[in-house]
Subunit: 387 residues, 2 copies
Amino acid sequence: MKIRLIALISALAFCISASAQQTIGGRAQIISPEINPDGTVTFRYRNPKAVTVQLSGDFLPDSRPVDLVEQDGIWTYTTAQIVPPEFYCYNYIVDGTRTLDPNNAQVDRDIATLSNVLIVPGGIADNYMVNDVPHGTVSKVWYESGIGKNRRMTVYTPAGYESNSRTRYPVLYVLHGIGGDEEAWMDHGCAARILDNAIASGRAKPMIVVFPNGNMSEEAAPFQNSTGYDRPTAGLPMTMEGTFESYFPEIVKFVDSRYRTLARKDSRAICGLSMGGFHSCYISLNYPDMFNYIGLFSAAIGVAGDREGKSPIYQDIDKKLELLFSKKPALYWIGIGKDDFLYRSNAAFKAKLEEAGYPYEYMETDGGHIWKNWRIYLDTFIQKLFR
Amino acid sequence: MKIRLIALISALAFCISASAQQTIGGRAQIISPEINPDGTVTFRYRNPKAVTVQLSGDFLPDSRPVDLVEQDGIWTYTTAQIVPPEFYCYNYIVDGTRTLDPNNAQVDRDIATLSNVLIVPGGIADNYMVNDVPHGTVSKVWYESGIGKNRRMTVYTPAGYESNSRTRYPVLYVLHGIGGDEEAWMDHGCAARILDNAIASGRAKPMIVVFPNGNMSEEAAPFQNSTGYDRPTAGLPMTMEGTFESYFPEIVKFVDSRYRTLARKDSRAICGLSMGGFHSCYISLNYPDMFNYIGLFSAAIGVAGDREGKSPIYQDIDKKLELLFSKKPALYWIGIGKDDFLYRSNAAFKAKLEEAGYPYEYMETDGGHIWKNWRIYLDTFIQKLFR
């Protein structure tokens, strides 16, 4: 009963995770990445045997990999310029093979690939940080689906939702892109932090936010479904063939029965990125009484023409657009990056709206089909809702 | 408006994550790990330039790393024997440097280190899988702490909790080890899946399960707290000096106010691993009317002697033990591995209980201070609760 505490803690630290030794063992710890006082960022990597080590990251000019330089087995790279505030991803390439930074345990999964995260605080990135504000609750929730399986969604309830028992809230549905799942917006999307910060500052109204899984062939994110530990792929079946759209009312019904929602059109919004923009477009077209606010973020629109004759979801688009806009939704919002490969199809869609005289709001940003834009679109869109 | 769908999906898949190309690009996909029909497991890794590639994993004999063999740039290792059903962790060592398997996106974080996960289904591992059973909800919940900060906990509500509005449930508090946080039991611990499966089969009663963060110097898991993106270390301050234990009633009070609990001693349990066993021991000693079921999993007990004179939490232990057992808790449960470095101090603690005639249950398993044992202890302990 007289083991000395310090010895015990050392022993515990060693035994709980022998694999964690690089940070808690005897040898000096490497800090990587390190944001320097002058705003540059230094990356470090210990590997005495490597021949070449490169850094790949979305903060690098033209996203081109750069070389690290070795001294005493430690490879180092410091950015030539200040890295502006943003949420970035990076990885190393060691002798030609992609690898993670072992000194940075903050990783995000995108489809089947992990990347390290670098957040440079300040400016826009402060929206993506956990700040000292009231926090909403983030829940992984299963519901019984008419498609024959329990399915999983992520639900954000705003600060205050659980501590009162009367207030009812509007609901925003946020859809992921192809290859994504109900966790995508929480990881790369920083959605819970964007919502916490926007609601705390009064920029956005308190709202319930629902992130469904738009892949009807899987119940939940990879490693979270009962069909086994399938390897995720980008081109899952049953993603853009009408099933998700036609089953969407069951999600709304479930949310309205489970949560204290304002269960009516004027308090419902939907948005999504890429495939999720495509889904948002067709769900709102097919259920024109469901949503008062519709947001298309880099939406994969412009494919309906080819689908005609298949799912009825994609048929009679002009008639459905006419019906939707005759019901005067409060907001039809389109966001797209100048370099997005979907820029042209979005421009064509906008032209179609203009020709018919349907009102919409439009935001054009730099860059392409990237999370940086989708975070900005979400932050912008939520400020316009439920006013 | 006439982009062909297949071309679009290919373009989307490419653009959404250029870094995901190893699984969705043109070159053949590597499957790793692969559970073979004969029960062995094959690991593969593409790296034409590596000189040596080793595999480290807790399923290997004596946990000793083994060599992969290269052919055409693909390194391969197949286990010599059948790998029994279990939840395992592994990583590669490439030219002496630890790295993850890039073909397996399922990773778990332990303190500051990521490992790949291999689950071999069947037997005990079926408890750790997502099975086709009703699932509880897992929520990340913030509460206002008297210590001056919002703090985060993970809360499991059993299937059925949200779909009824009357039933009240017993509550189990589950504490993590040193260096862990409110996410540890969900990752390596498979806690939500263990609970889902045990409750669905009737082996355990439906219960609310709360996973607090026992590090009073941080609000939440790394990358989830407002003090910035601090690098986690194993030896956080304010973990085993009485603060967490003395503030524990605020957690119980919060849970009883937020959830439909049975807010009384006979419907409350506490358990924890390692440092969490230490915490469970001292919380129950200092609040003898709070818990009817107490579980010490590989508990870091036996350090109290040195603490006397510091926090009152660790003082007058014999008197506190006497008071606790005079109130006849329904279960005092101790689990320890034969090879655990805390085996002796647990044996001394048991001897102390026996000497005083205090009743307890005891489970001894093979192995040491490892998650494999803690998953078994949790699964065993929950079956004994609230009967």
